[in-house]
Symmetry: C2
């Protein structure tokens, strides 16, 4: 079986291509943002905790070679991060469950990008509008063209952070399970259950008379359907 | 419009019910695990980096009032965490995209559980088997009954960590967009695009003659279909 093993090994690999990285960051709807809280450095103080990790799900969008994060100026994570604390932003796309003949070789097929760096606040109003447009269009492309522009109060009322895509890594697993030779005749079913994002029937706001979804929403739903 | 605003406000809320927490932890297929790396405390040393956050996607499963993590004994994150470093484990279920009449009120419907604590290694072989069974059955319930038991080498060759569900928080957002009164007559479509996990046609291992998926897999797929 060694020829076969040769072909099938290393289903998990590191990826260094920026195009593959960008595809993951652009497809991912949510990022998990980690930072080190406590330890006196985040302005909380007084609670007796030492430095500890905090991981929060957030919307995130790529603009060229930067990642944008945003939220309320009151958000603890954003207040901490804008002070220059290092963050780690991870975007994971789960592509499948890998069912092997042994529990040990069960796995997941996935694409995952981890970005390290120090986020800085975007304060220039024009840059901030570009960033907010991008964050909105990341949710559904074409959305900004379908709604009114941001007001000055909204621009002031949102904290936007920008993180350079300088230090990052990407891991990918694809393909079938890799079982041990002695398990190959086991009676267990082995294979992959491919996963994706399911989009169900849109639910119009009950306070809106319009029922028909506009083309940018219909296009997005079609694009997500496997 | 104040009566309506009254009814519709606070779509985002904290949840303190352990049953709701457990439902999220049990439904989530992947967790994002954060820890503080570098700073001399993780045995890496010598790379000149200070303490910084690292966030890694991992399989995780709940066993009663504990969370289980596992991986290769060579995994840097697991080697770091078993030394008693604090971790933060976040499980997020993305339930929908919330499209509002203004970019500012765009949002996500989600359920998210954040667990803080110090993970300890499970070393007792019998406890380790129970934990590995649970991690495997978390992927697809009934899986362990369909495959052979773990071998001693596999048990030794896996690091299992256990984290008490003592310190945690949960946040949920549900419902339609909440727009400002002055935007309610805007022509933009507003509403929710409900999201879930899409399971595509199972792909049998090409090295297996059996094509038909067994009942535990068929049941799982049916249960995931909205």
């Amino acid at each position: 079986m060694s020829g076969k093993s040769e072909l099938r090994r290393k289903p998990e690999r590191s990826v260094a291509e920026t195009a593959e990285r960008d595809a993951v960051l652009d497809e991912g709807l949510i990022a998990h943002v980690g930072l080190v809280a406590g330890g006196g450095g985040d302005g909380r103080g007084g609670d007796g905790d030492g430095a500890h990790p905090v991981v929060i799900p957030m919307l995130c969008a790529r603009l060229g070679d930067r990642l944008l994060l945003h939220g309320s100026p009151a958000s603890r994570l954003l207040r901490t991060a804008k002070g220059g604390v290092e963050v780690c932003v991870t975007v994971t796309l789960l592509d499948g469950l890998v069912l092997a003949r042994s529990a040990f070789h069960h796995s997941m097929n996935y694409r995952s990008v981890v970005v390290f760096g120090t986020a800085s606040e975007v304060t220039d109003p024009e840059e901030k509008v570009v960033a907010l447009d991008r964050l909105t269009d990341h949710i559904v492309p074409g959305r900004m063209a379908a709604i009114r522009p941001h007001t000055d109060a909204e621009i002031r009322g949102t904290t936007v952070l920008s993180l350079p895509l300088d230090e990052w890594s990407m891991k990918v697993r694809t393909g079938p399970p890799i079982d041990d030779d002695e398990d190959m005749d086991a009676p267990a079913w082995a294979g992959v259950l491919p996963l994706g994002v399911r989009v169900d029937e849109p639910v119009p706001d009950p306070l809106m008379s319009e029922r028909e979804v506009p083309s940018h929403v219909a296009d997005w739903i079609r694009g997500r359907q496997g």
